[in-house]
Amino acid sequence: MTPVLEIRDLRVKMPTPRGHVTVVDGVDLTAEPESIAGIAGESGSGKTITMLAVLGLLPPDAIVEGSARLAGRELIGLPERELRAVRGRRMAMIFQDPLASLHPMLTIGRQLTDHMRAHLGLGRAKARARAVELLAEVRLPDPAGMLDRHPHEFSGGMRQRVAIAMALACEPEVIIGDEPTTALDVTVQAGILRLLDRLRRESGVTVVLVTHDLGVMSALADTLSVFYSGRVVETGTAGTVLRRPRHPYTAGLLAALPSPEAKVDQGVRPIPGTPPVPGDRPSGCAFHPRCPHGVDQCAVEVPAPVELDDRHRFACPPDPFAAGRTS
């Protein structure tokens, strides 16, 4: 199968008062059609920046290099006009905070229809009719009554459903969910994730799902990529990565999780130390100062990813969790 979304060697340098700083450093990522591609990693590891770079949403003074293909078509470097035809139409994004990402003074109906009208050329009445269908599809009560109301009248979970309806509106091939449940009450998080999963099955949309929640990953995601300091340190099918992690950072994340998914017998304990800041990243493997398995070489060389048969890739040459080896 050709991937819907294929990111190769993506590099992003963000402007800071002290010059440009590399925050995404050679990210590879593949999302197969109708799959959920999970992305995990501590905050500040470059997940959001990667997603924004793909949609061309970074500030103009950010430097983006590498490749991101949507169904084979290169997006990086595309002129604004052509990017606009992709955004919302072929690839939509759901943001972390549904209150902040909806305009407080515009009605739900207006925000739900304006891009449909722009992309699909629908008239007002048709767009509103479709908006009602969409709100029903994301299981919101009284869809028709919602159109003339404003975001503050609804709860966080309902607002995120509205945001999902907005993302679905033009039937995109890919929906990027950037921690879509992080800002929500735990009680409604599961509902939102189930909704995304159902939409993926029913409408065949590919979902790129960013979340810290490894439990969610094991339940929903088909593949999982683990970010650390702007690099993907491990990637593979979610089952493999979560059950047989090969990178010490992934293993550390799992060990820090009081969850049965952690098959590596390390007990429950947080990873010591703090994640690096982009401007001051350790040399070699950025994880080496926190790694219990480091060798001298780790501080010198940026580790090249090792690829196993089942498309399981990881960047840790010492490979402390290799089969038959105990750590």
Partner: protein
């Protein structure tokens, strides 16, 4: 000064699904209107009292300011004048009488015009309203786009230029600017008339609103309309200048604030055109501030009109207040002050109500 209050909007998710939140309330409550009305009454009392005190403690004599040379040296004429305007009664007695008359809607008789102050004010209000409305329209129509440009060209030459010019525009006194402008555009270039609302001998249009431009349009007198606009442009522009500067600066700040909001990025991520995002999302987000500052600009226009109307021989409330003050025409001064107070209060009220209209999260007076 705003009574508006933001409801937080971050509600818990514990709410049962299916139970919809209540319908949006009307933006104004009865309690709010009552409270505002009482506050206005108190404010007017305070203003009249202060003005009353001030006009009585200044060491100047209304009789000598208003009587002719001959009468001024005639003790009997002076005494008659003082008796007529109750100038020899005690302060509190005078103030009490003033309030009593005020309660009956009587502001007294102007010393200089010999007309009831109320009818003087009514005669002159439309001229000032016309000038002020034109000035604020200009301020918004010019200031908001300039502020937007300044924000979008942040830290580039256009921005630096606009910021410098607007800072200057805010600090220059309008009447002085008016004098300069008359010197240039009237005496030197002859582009505009030298003052007044119509050419000398020009006949005002039949009165509908009292605003010449509007009345001329309503009654289809295009010639009069052109004349009136010609006379209106320069004084309105002069009065608009501080407002343009104010709006440029505040719109810039508001746009820079709003443009980094998540909802702007989300709108861009939907594939909307940049111009649509700017117009519908960014500018909309900046409207509350623009409304506040426009209200402020309008209030400032009324203050500035006192001198600017004088410069442009514009027979409105401003020049009336000016002339009454120089002639020590106390009843007229009181009336003008009361009138300006009411205008201020009204502007504030309108700003607060508009807040509730543009921002659905706000219920005015809650």
């Amino acid at each position: 000064m705003t009574n508006a209050e933001k409801t937080d909007g971050r509600q818990t998710d514990g709410r049962r699904r299916g139970a919809l939140p209540r319908r949006r309330r009307s933006p104004i409550s009865v309690a709010f209107v009552v409270r505002r009305f009482l506050a206005t009454v108190v404010l007017c009392l305070a203003v009249t009292f202060v003005v009353f005190l001030l006009s009585n403690v200044i060491p100047a004599d209304p009789a000598s300011a208003n009587l002719g040379d001959a009468a001024r040296s005639d003790p009997e004429a002076v005494a008659a004048f003082r008796a007529k305007y109750h100038l020899d009664d005690g302060l509190l007695t005078q103030y009490g009488e003033f309030l009593q008359r005020l309660a009956h809607g009587d502001l007294g008789t102007s010393i200089q015009t010999q007309q009831p102050v109320l009818s003087d004010l009514a005669d002159r209000a439309p001229a000032t309203a016309e000038l002020a409305i034109a000035a604020v329209f200009m301020a918004v129509l010019v200031g908001v786009p300039l502020g937007m440009v300044s924000a979008l060209k942040r830290d580039r030459p256009a921005d630096h230029l606009l910021r410098t010019v607007s800072l200057t525009g805010m600090s220059v006194p309008a009447f002085w600017l008016g004098l300069l402008a008359l010197q240039l555009f009237y005496y030197r270039l002859g582009w505009v008339p030298g003052g007044g609302r119509l050419p000398v001998g020009g006949e005002p249009p039949p009165s509908v609103t009292g605003m010449y431009t509007l009345d001329a349009l309503l009654t289809g007198r295009l010639g009069t309309f052109t004349d009136a606009v010609h006379h209106l442009i320069l004084p309105a522009l002069i009065l608009a200048t501080p407002g343009i500067a104010l709006l440029t600066r505040f719109t810039r700040a508001a746009v820079l604030d709003v443009i980094s909001e998540d909802y702007v990025r989300a709108a861009t991520a939907k594939g909307l055109k940049r111009s649509t995002v700017l117009r519908r999302y960014v500018l909309r987000g900046a409207t509350p501030l623009v409304i506040t500052v426009s209200g402020l600009a309008l209030a400032n226009v009324f203050v500035a009109s006192v001198l600017v109307e004088q410069v442009f021989s514009w027979s409105g409330l401003g020049s009336y207040a000016y002339q009454s003050a120089v002639r020590l025409d106390f009843p007229a001064v009181m009336g003008a002050c009361l009138c300006i107070t009411l205008v201020y209060v009204t502007i504030n009220l309108v700003v607060d109500v508009l807040y509730g209209v543009v921002d659905p999260r706000i219920r005015v007076g809650s």
